[in-house]
Symmetry: C2
Subunit: 369 residues, 2 copies
DNA sequence: CTGTTAGCGCATTCAT
DNA sequence: ATGAATGCGCTAACAG
C-alpha cells in the first residue's frame, strides 16, 4: 500500500526548468541553452522552447542562478534615512539606473547610527549583492565594517556623506563652496552673529561646509566664535531642545546656517516655538532640496543639492564597475554643484530686527525664568 | 608543463561552510548543525565551531540557503514614488519591522505607471521574495499582474492605494471621513466654490476622498459642480499647467481640496505663480504629512496620514502571515485615522498668533517689565 | 553525537 | 545539435 501523497494545493505553482524541459521532451540543458540564445541550438528548437516558456510563463529562479554564476543582479543601498528629500530623491535616481541595468535594489536604513550601519554591512559580506552604494551615518567614527566590504572586493561607491579614508569613488556636492556662499549670503543680508549647526565633525559634509563657513567669516572680517557652533548629531527631538536652549542663551544671534535639512527644519521650529520672527529677527539658510525650499518660501533661503543626479551618478559609476568587472577607483569621483536658492526675504538690506526678542530674553533671564 | 594558474587576487575572500569544516576537521553537516544550535550536537563541538566561525568571520551564503529552504528572508515593496513624505515615512516603518524580523527589503518604484508596475511584479513571480507590500500606481486599471502573484500564494498586503478587487488585507486611512472633514473645514472657513483635485478615479483613495467631499457639500447645501473637479493623474509639470489654466478659467474658486500631497504642492505653486494670495484669496487643504504640513504653515491646512504607522502595520500583517505560514486575509485589514491639522489661517475669521511669544510677553509684563 | 548522501534550480562541462 | 553528469553552498534525511 502506498502512503498517501501530500499534495498541498499549489494553484498555478511556478514552473521550473526541468518541468519545462519535460513538457518539451527535451533535456534541461538544451532548454537552458535555448533560453540563453546559445549558438549551438537549432533555430527550430530555440523557437519552440521560447514559445513554450512564454506560454507556461517560465521564470528562472534568481537564487539558483546567483548560486551558479556568482552574480546576484542586486545592489545594496545603505543610507541614514529616507524621510528626507535629499535621500528620497537620491533613491529615485538610484532605482532608475538600477532598473535600466536590470538590477534589483536592497535598501537598508541606519537611522544615523554606527551600530546599525555595522550590522547591515555585515549582511552584505556574504555575496548578497554585486555592489554597494553607501552614505555614512553621522554617528559613524570607525569605518572598519566598510573596509571589510572593500577587502571582499565588492564594488562600492560612497555618496554625499563620505569618508575619504575609504579608498572608493565618491559622488558629492561642492560642500566647501556652497558653505562659503551660504555664509556670505547671510553676511550680505546683514547678519553678524551667525550660528553654524554642525551635523557631525567627522563627516565630510559637516567639516567641508564648516570650512566654507569659517572662510567666509574670515574674508568678511567677522571674528569666529566657537560658542556659535552647535553640534546637531543625535535625534531630532534632542536637537530641537538643544537649539531652543541655544537660542535663548544667545539672543544676539541674527543668522543660522544649518548644514543639513533636518537641522534647518529643527531650527525653523525652534524659532517658531520661541516666537522669533523669521527672517525678521533671525535669517536662516539651510541645505535642503528644491521642494522643501519652495515650501519654506519666503522664510528660508536654501542650498539645494542635485539629489536625483547624485543618486544617478553614484549608481552609474557602480554599474560601470560591475558590468566591466573593474574596481571602483577614487579617480572616478564626481563633485556636483549645489544651487543657492535665494529668497527675497534674506536679500541684502533687510536688517535683522530682533531687538525686541533680545530685550525679552534678557528680561526673562533676569527673573530666572 | 602545467598551465599557469590564474589566481585573481582575492584578499580576504569569503569562507564557506566546507572550508570552515575543513579547518575544524569536521564534516560540513556537523558544522551546519552546530551553527544552527541543533540539539543533537555536543556542547563542546558546538562551542568550538561557533568560536572558529566567528574567528574566520564565516557568513553563510544567503542564496544557497534560499535555494535549499525555499525561504528568502526578503520582502518586496512596490510603490508609486518615494520622493513623497507619505511613502518615505511608510518605508521607514516597513524597514524597521523588516529589520526586527531579520528580513531584507527590495524596493521597486513604479512612478505611477501601470506598465512599470506590471514589469516589477513579473520580477517577483519567481520566488525572489517571501512576501510583498504594494501601493498601487494611480495609472493602474488592470490588476492581473497582482492577481498572478496572489495565485502563486505569495503573501501580499496592500497599503494606502489599494484595490478591493484583490482578495488581500489592506492598510488604509479613513479616506471618506477625512475627505468629509477637509471639505467641511473649508466650508466653515467661508469657502463656497471648492475645487477638488482628484488623483485617479479608479484608485480607492481618489474615490473615497471624493465621496467625503461630495457628502460634505451635500450636507452643507452647496451644489456640486462637476466643473470644479480636476483630474490630477499624470506627471507633476502637466498637473501644474492644468491647475494654472483651471484657476484662470475659474476665478470664482475660493477653496482647493487636494487629494494627495503632490497635488497640494502643485496647486500651491500654481497660486504663487498666478499671484493668488493663500489663504486670503484661496484657502487650500491637502493630504500631506506632518513635516510638510508644518513647513507650509500657515498657508495650507492639511490632512496628515499616519504614514509611518501605515507602513509598520502593513509590514506587521505581512510578517504575521509569513512566519505563521498562513494566508493574508481581507479580514485582517486595518483602517487608521488621519489627523486634520488646522492652521489658524484657514479658521473662520481668525488671525495668526504665536502662542509662545504671547506667553513670554505676558510673563515679562507680569513681573513688572 | 557525527558522517555520508542527496537535492534545491540552474548553467556548464564533457561526451556523443 | 543535444543529453548526461557535475557542482555552486547549504540543509535535511538517512545511516551509523
Amino acid at each position: 500500500m502506498l502512503a498517501p501523497v501530500l499534495t498541498p494545493i499549489l494553484p498555478m505553482s511556478a514552473i521550473n526548468l526541468k518541468q519545462l524541459a519535460g513538457q518539451l521532451g527535451l533535456s534541461s540543458s538544451t532548454v537552458s541553452r535555448a533560453l540563453r540564445d546559445s549558438y549551438e541550438i537549432s533555430t527550430a528548437t530555440r523557437e519552440r522552447v521560447q514559445v513554450m516558456a512564454r506560454q507556461l510563463d517560465y521564470q528562472p529562479n534568481p537564487y539558483a542562478g546567483s548560486l551558479r554564476n556568482n552574480v546576484t543582479k542586486t545592489i545594496g543601498v545603505i543610507l541614514p534615512e529616507v524621510d528626507n528629500h535629499f535621500f528620497s530623491s537620491a533613491i529615485n535616481g538610484i532605482e532608475e539606473v538600477a532598473q535600466q541595468n536590470g538590477y534589483h535594489v536592497l535598501i537598508y536604513l541606519t537611522h544615523d547610527s554606527e551600530e546599525q550601519e555595522k550590522s547591515v554591512s555585515q549582511y552584505l559580506t556574504s555575496g548578497r549583492v554585486d555592489g554597494i552604494l553607501v552614505s555614512l551615518a553621522s554617528g559613524t567614527r570607525n569605518i572598519s565594517h566598510l573596509e571589510k566590504l572593500k577587502k571582499l572586493e565588492i564594488p562600492m561607491v560612497q555618496f554625499d556623506r563620505v569618508s575619504k579614508k575609504l579608498n572608493t569613488a565618491t559622488v558629492t556636492t561642492d560642500d566647501y563652496v556652497s558653505g562659503y556662499k551660504a555664509t556670505e549670503h547671510l553676511i550680505r543680508a546683514g547678519c553678524r552673529r551667525i550660528a553654524y549647526l554642525l551635523v557631525s565633525e567627522n563627516l565630510s559634509i559637516g567639516s567641508k561646509r564648516m570650512q566654507g563657513y569659517l572662510a567666509a567669516l574670515h574674508d568678511h572680517h567677522i571674528p569666529y566664535d566657537a560658542g556659535l557652533v552647535l553640534n546637531g548629531s543625535g535625534p531630532n527631538d534632542e536637537n530641537l531642545v538643544r537649539i531652543r536652549h541655544f537660542l535663548r542663551q544667545n539672543p544676539q544671534v541674527d543668522g543660522i546656517f544649518a548644514s543639513v535639512e533636518r537641522l534647518a527644519l529643527s531650527s525653523y521650529h525652534a524659532c517658531q516655538s520661541l516666537g522669533i520672527a523669521i527672517p525678521k529677527a533671525i535669517k536662516i539658510i539651510g541645505f535642503s532640496n528644491m521642494e522643501t525650499a519652495s515650501l519654506l518660501a519666503p522664510s528660508l533661503t536654501t542650498i539645494t543639492q542635485p539629489a536625483y543626479a547624485v543618486g544617478k551618478e553614484a549608481a552609474r559609476i557602480l554599474f560601470h564597475a560591475i558590468t566591466k568587472n573593474k574596481p571602483v577607483l577614487p579617480a572616478q569621483s564626481i563633485e556636483l554643484k549645489s544651487e543657492l536658492v535665494v529668497r527675497a526675504s534674506t536679500q541684502a538690506g533687510s536688517q535683522p530686527t530682533n531687538a525686541r526678542f533680545v530685550e525679552v530674553c534678557q528680561a526673562v533671564q533676569a527673573v530666572g525664568f
